[in-house]
């Protein structure tokens, strides 16, 4: 576990800085004093079992939820004191598919680009550029609900980086997407990273974890491991990330104790056990 002390001064090197960030809901600590930093243009994988606290941590970084204690800076802005400025500088793609299904492809782009304050002319020029790049030019006037899931996810990513944010937060962006589209998706991620956009991504796919520059693995609200995939494999004497992950996840007590988990939206059955999750507003 990394124990760095950061200051705003070295923010020219790191785009996200988190120090002792904590979020509790009543007696339950979803995120427990996590500290890390992410450099500009880095692809940072944020891993953890369901309920480990990933989504809660990410929501705090996006200014969607206030930390209970600790500090966090995204793009140089305090997530607690300047959430609105933080929001201007980030892109966000949520776990659920998050475009308007009843709007056309170009209308979705127009809407979200407009929300981020982009100028009309620039939007229409860039729309065509973007659509050509992801191969959706022919679908420009199609309703989003008519697109296959993989295409939708690609479109959602393009929308999230359309305004060229400093950081883009991707919450399980490739869930339910076929391997080929996932591959293309990661190509898009690399391309964005080359342009200097920092990628902060959560995923359940361990092969995807290998694509990241650095990975943090959360267990029970704490960051238990943080390094490059290669070093993590060395450290845990594992052949692949899957093994690393399982070695770490075995420590998790929250699953064994059968506690109510506060992480993301929804209700699901996983590993044969019913899990009621909520997004942390009610407990």
């Amino acid at each position: 576990m990394q124990k760095n002390k950061f200051s705003i001064l070295n923010s020219q090197f790191s785009i996200i800085e988190v120090e002792d960030l904590t979020k509790s809901f009543g007696a339950f600590t979803a995120v427990d004093h996590i500290s890390f930093s992410v450099g500009r243009g880095e692809i940072f994988g944020f891993l953890g079992a369901n309920g480990a606290g990933k989504t809660t941590a990410m929501r705090m970084l996006c200014g969607l939820s206030k930390p209970t204690s600790g500090k966090g800076f995204v793009a140089g802005y305090d997530i607690e004191k300047q959430p609105e400025t933080v929001k201007k500088n980030i892109g966000y793609m949520s776990q659920k598919f998050s475009l308007y299904e009843d709007l056309k492809v170009w209308e979705n782009i127009r809407l979200f680009a407009g929300i981020y304050g982009l100028d009309g002319k620039l939007i229409s020029r860039k729309t065509d550029e973007t659509l050509k790049k992801i191969g959706l030019m022919n679908e420009k006037n199609a309703l989003v609900k008519e697109l296959p899931l993989g295409w939708k996810q690609k479109l959602a990513f393009s929308v999230a980086v359309f305004h060229e944010p400093k950081v883009v937060f991707l919450d399980e962006p490739t869930g339910g997407v076929d391997p080929i589209t996932r591959r293309q998706f990661w190509e898009m991620i690399y391309e964005a990273a080359e342009k200097g956009i920092t990628i902060f991504v959560t995923t359940h796919y361990m092969d995807e974890a290998e694509y990241c520059n650095r990975i943090s693995i959360m267990v029970d609200g704490r960051i238990e491991a943080l390094d490059t995939p290669r070093k993590l494999k060395e450290q845990f004497q594992a052949n692949n990330m899957d093994e690393v992950f399982r070695k770490l996840a075995r420590k998790a007590r929250r699953v064994e104790n059968g506690e109510l988990r506060i992480e993301n939206d929804g209700l699901g059955i996983e590993n044969g056990e019913l899990r009621v999750e909520n997004d942390g507003f009610k407990l």
């Binding site: 996006c62 200014g63 969607l64 609105e84 929001k87 201007k88 980030i90 966000y92 793609m93 949520s94 776990q95 659920k96 598919f97 998050s98 475009l99 308007y100 299904e101 979200f112 929300i115 981020y116 304050g117 937060f169 507003f281």
Partner: protein, 346 residues
């Protein structure tokens, strides 16, 4: 479970026992220039019955004309001069029953109850005196002389429609965004929640206004309901109510998480009270005091009363000032609560 079993039980109790279309506790105003034994006995008998409650004595005929516009009175009894004298000497005395028949069923019931009480008195007298006396109650229907039900249901229906369009649709529209996930993306964007909410409400506001104008046109040209009051104030009054309905929808959407819950909440929490407690179906004055008090927090009740006054009775705007102020107050209160909720919940 509590909801599934509780709601029908609650409904049966409310509809079965507490609420009825029966006429009860109607406030009566009396203009009695003769003030003799006969008139006093009639007044006392009216007052003693459970249907009527003699509340006011009027001093002049001009008071009679203005009485209904104050909004509380359901029946005005106007005796002729020298009522008792005429009764005993000519055997013939006139009494007018002025009834507010903007709700025809209700008005008719009021009139027939009052007539039968007077007829009962006549019977008593016949037995006492053995003179062939006759009291002629002359019934005057005000505001809706043709007894057309459209006069009553148009304002009531408006209240229902706006609750449906504004509250239900708004809450569903906002909650749908929560369900699909677009809400989260919007919240992660620099848009202020307030602007987001306003832009969600504006289309429904405009749609509601268009609906309102449609209802008015249909009422006037198809159902032939005359709009006797000021059109401008009727619009102002309705728009205030629309804002209340929209803010209720907003409030629901800040509390619930799914579209189904939004529909249930607005259906059970808004539409049902509007049907039962707004005076649209069941007259409020017949309800037990507790329900009357509860009906006070149903915005449609105030809209209903105000709209009826403006459309059918054609009163000047100051007569609906109370209703207007109540609705305005509700709007401000609900919007404040929902905006506070949005920050933490949406």
């Amino acid at each position: 479970m509590l909801v599934i079993i509780g709601i029908p039980v609650f409904q049966i109790l409310i509809i079965g026992f507490a609420i009825s279309t029966d006429v009860k506790n109607i406030e009566v105003a009396v203009y009695d220039p003769s003030n003799d034994e006969a008139t006093n006995r009639i007044i006392n008998q009216l007052d003693a019955s459970k249907y009527f409650n003699v509340a006011r004595r009027l001093k002049s005929t001009s008071d009679v004309d203005n009485e209904f516009k104050k909004g509380k009175t359901g029946l005005i009894v106007v005796f002729s001069e020298n009522f008792g004298e005429n009764l005993y000497h000519t055997g013939d005395a006139a009494v007018q029953l002025h009834v507010d028949t903007s709700d025809p069923n209700h008005g008719q019931t009021v009139a027939s109850y009052a007539s039968s009480i007077i007829a009962g008195y006549q019977q008593e007298l016949l037995q006492e005196t053995n003179i062939p006396i006759r009291i002629n109650p002359e019934i005057r229907m005000l505001y809706n002389p043709e007894m057309r039900s459209a006069y009553n249901f148009v304002p009531g229906l408006m209240g229902l429609v706006f609750m449906l369009v504004c509250a239900m649709m708004t809450s569903v529209a906002i909650v749908r965004e929560k369900e699909t996930g677009t809400m989260e993306v919007l919240l992660a964007s620099p848009v202020k929640p307030v602007y987001m909410v306003v832009s969600k409400l504006v289309p429904y506001f405009i749609i509601s206004w268009i609906i309102f104008i449609l209802i008015l046109l249909l009422s006037v040209f198809v159902l032939k309901v005359p709009i006797t009051g000021s059109l401008v104030w009727l619009n102002v009054f309705t728009l205030i109510f629309i804002v209340v309905a929209l803010s209720l929808g907003l409030l629901i959407s800040t509390v619930v998480r799914t579209q189904v819950a939004a529909i249930l909440a607005s259906g059970m929490g808004l539409i049902m009270p509007v049907m039962i407690l707004s005076g649209y179906v069941f007259p409020i004055e017949s309800m037990p005091p507790v329900l009357q008090w509860i009906s006070g927090i149903v915005p449609a009740r105030w809209f209903n009363e105000g709209a009826k006054k403006l459309i059918i009775e054609g009163v000047p705007v100051r007569s609906v000032l109370k209703e207007m102020m109540i609705l305005l107050g509700m709007a401000i209160l609900i919007i404040t609560i929902s905006l506070r909720n949005i920050k933490t919940r949406l």
